[in-house]
């Protein structure tokens, strides 16, 4: 909160604000002291909020025309595409919007990894963020089922079947999830219901995510604690709002490029074939944003093992703040960790690529190497490097990067270059 209490100017506003301090909240949000050295990797929080709102608004409109029934869903999507005014636009924004949402969230997560934003005192922000990410994956998966094309049906079959790997009760759980003895109309119905619910859960978590953020304030590229407000901070409005707006517009240009010129490039052509339980597609692949996890799942010859490993790949991130032993947040001052960070990025991209390929030959080998490295990075590299690494000297503040150790005036410039 800002240091001085906000007092509304008019009497009526004061009367209202005393009863429900919305104006105080507004003042807090506009004044919110933000580090002035945030780079463009920090604009993805705003972009993600935009993505969520876009998905909710387009989704509500689509739900007005969509029919969640195994015999009618595919036809209702074609009805949206052909007969609903601008239905094609709304649907393409929604389907490409999911991909843009994930693109932004992956950048947001890797930004956090690079600058140590998950570390004390921001662990709770990080964990809420991961919960949002988990819900996003659930929402995206169920949304992909709704058009009831071949990939919808078979994707749903593969993913729900994962639960049958659970010993003893696996088959019962799978039947319970389906509401039938295979993926069928009841499955589609409940997926639609949950697909409509989850975005609002995400919205609630986003409020908590931002609330938790406003307690310690933003991390920043230098990764040091700063005094707020001070010479190192700027008020959120207009400095950060205008910068976020600029970044959002650049993002929207790319978004529009997909929607208007290659609206189906990120999807799979098989999903324009109506679902057919009797015909299995040659390669069942999930959407691109789930591919790294799909690669991990398939890298294990044992089904239960694969499922455990896949879920571990996500849940290990929850304990990340305690696996990282380094006292320094930003990788800018961590010469060794920085290299490992980029290796992890390559590793995840590679897993995503082999996830799209058949699980055989060289791809299976790469998937296994990639999976092993993924876990090594978090279980071994992070604790050990954090402990052994000799970090670069850290500046005292953003404005005056004075050394904590000896005096070396030239470093001020060097730090700024790196950031």
């Amino acid at each position: 909160m800002s240091e001085h209490e906000y007092v509304p100017k008019s009497k009526a506003a004061k009367w209202f604000n005393d009863r429900l301090p919305l104006l105080t909240l507004g003042a807090h949000l506009t004044d919110y002291p933000t580090p002035k050295n945030l780079n463009y990797w920090w604009t993805f929080g705003g972009i993600l909020t935009f993505c969520l709102i876009t998905q909710i608004v387009t989704g509500i409109v689509l739900a007005m025309h969509y029919v969640a029934h195994a015999d009618l869903a595919f036809a209702s999507v074609e009805h949206i595409m052909r007969d609903v005014n601008y239905g094609w636009l709304i649907r393409y924004i929604h389907s490409n919007g999911a991909s843009m949402f994930f693109l932004a969230v992956y950048i947001h997560i890797f930004r956090s990894l690079f600058y140590g934003s998950y570390k004390s005192p921001r662990e709770v922000i990080w964990i809420i963020g991961l919960m949002i990410y988990l819900l996003m994956m659930a929402a995206a998966f169920m949304g992909y089922v709704l058009p009831w094309g071949q990939m919808s049906f078979w994707g749903a079959t593969v993913i729900t079947n994962l639960f049958s790997a659970i010993p003893l009760v696996g088959d019962s759980i799978t039947t319970w999830l389906w509401g039938a003895y295979s993926v069928d109309n009841p499955t589609l119905n409940r997926f639609f219901s949950l697909h409509y619910l989850i975005p609002f859960l995400i919205l609630g978590l986003v409020v908590l995510h931002i609330w938790a953020l406003h307690v310690p304030g933003n991390n920043n590229p230098v990764g040091i604690d700063i005094k707020k407000p001070s010479k190192d901070t700027v008020p959120f409005h207009p400095y950060i709002t205008i910068k976020d707006a600029f970044a959002l517009l650049v993002f929207m240009i790319i978004f529009a490029g997909f929607v208007f010129f290659t609206p189906n490039v990120l999807g799979h052509s098989d999903n324009y074939i109506p679902a057919n339980p009797l015909v299995t597609p040659a390669h069942i692949v999930p959407e691109w944003y789930l591919l790294p996890f799909y690669a991990i799942l398939r890298s294990v010859p044992d089904k239960l093992g694969g499922v455990i490993l896949m879920f571990s790949a996500i849940f290990i991130l929850f304990v990340l703040p305690w696996l990282d032993t380094s006292k320094v947040r930003s990788a800018v001052f961590r010469p060794i960790y920085r290299q490992f960070f980029w290796i992890l990025v390559i590793d995840v991209l590679m897993l995503g690529y082999v996830g799209a390929m058949p699980a055989e030959g060289i791809y299976l080998v790469l998937a296994r190497v990639g999976t092993i490295y993924y876990f090594l990075h978090f279980i071994v590299v992070m604790p050990v490097v954090g402990y052994l690494e000799k970090t670069d000297p850290i500046p005292m503040s953003i404005s005056e990067p004075v050394l904590s150790g000896g005096a070396e005036p030239s470093l001020a410039r060097k730090v700024n270059d790196k950031v």
Binding site: E78, P238, Y239, L249, L349, Y353
Partner: protein
């Protein structure tokens, strides 16, 4: 430092993607056609769409349904753009089942522009049974439902060949260079001069294949022209707005001693 790392990243990713050809050796890539509807400003060739509709009506429609299209679509902007009279005449040339009437009886009547395209078979099972166990797929979104899109559809239409030595085919199975697995149950229906084009264009196999593929591409994406036109306007608007916001941002941030 970060820059050189990103370079390394991109390089290793390119290396990875270059592994791709290992995957599908036996599939022949479809022929690349320079379609008029390709690219950012692509539009359909009106005459080709009308000819393509003729090929569909006289050749394909005896087995393939197009259940998501209505006759009125044929007159809408961005499509074949037949005149209102032509659309009415096309629709009226089909007998459509309607009902039940006040007596509870089903009856047939001439088609109206608001009717969906009449399907050749009453249901999927009937279509499958009449075609040697292979369902002729509905063609409404066929171009979007096949990897390779329009190029693939065109390639299959012109890709019939005698089977190479050593390949034996069952009855009712044909060899096609571009079809996955090279075996197709649809016979080669196109031959030179098969249809008599109303506009006098010579109906070679290649011409008919291109026209009907264009028609199918429109059927799958009837919004394509509007989408391209709107897209260009949207991008121009966004770019201008981005420039204005960028300049405002520079101005606002010039008040303090920090870079954006």
């Amino acid at each position: 430092m970060i820059k050189s790392n990103i370079k390394l990243l991109v390089l290793s990713f390119l290396l990875l993607i270059s592994l791709k050809p290992l995957q599908s050796a036996e599939m022949v890539d479809p022929i690349k056609v320079d379609w008029s509807f390709k690219g950012l400003t692509g539009t359909f060739d009106r005459a080709s769409l009308q000819r393509g509709f003729q090929v569909y009506k006289e050749v394909c429609a005896s087995c393939h349904s197009m259940q998501y299209l209505s006759y009125r679509n044929l007159g809408e902007p961005g499509g074949p753009e037949f005149s209102e009279q032509e659309v009415k005449a096309i629709a009226a040339s089909f007998e459509i089942e309607d009902g039940p009437d006040s007596q509870g009886e089903m009856f047939t009547r001439p088609g109206k522009p608001s009717d969906k395209f009449k399907s050749p078979y009453p249901n999927v099972q009937a279509a499958t049974a009449a075609n040697g166990g292979a369902y002729p797929p509905d063609m409404s979104v066929l171009v979007k439902a096949r990897k390779g899109g329009a190029n693939y559809i065109y390639s299959v239409l012109v890709g019939y060949e005698d089977p190479p030595p050593g390949v034996t085919l069952d009855d009712g199975v044909y060899y096609n260079k571009y079809m996955a697995g090279n075996k197709i149950k649809m016979p080669n229906n196109l031959m030179d001069g098969l249809v008599e084009y109303a506009d006098g264009t010579e109906s070679t196999v290649d011409q008919m294949a291109k026209d009907v593929t264009t028609f199918l591409a429109w059927a799958a994406e009837p919004e394509l022209e509007e989408r391209h036109k709107t897209g260009i306007k949207v991008i121009i608007y966004l770019v201008l707005l981005t420039i204005l916001v960028y300049l405002s941002m520079k101005k606002i941030w010039s008040r303090i001693d920090s870079e954006v």
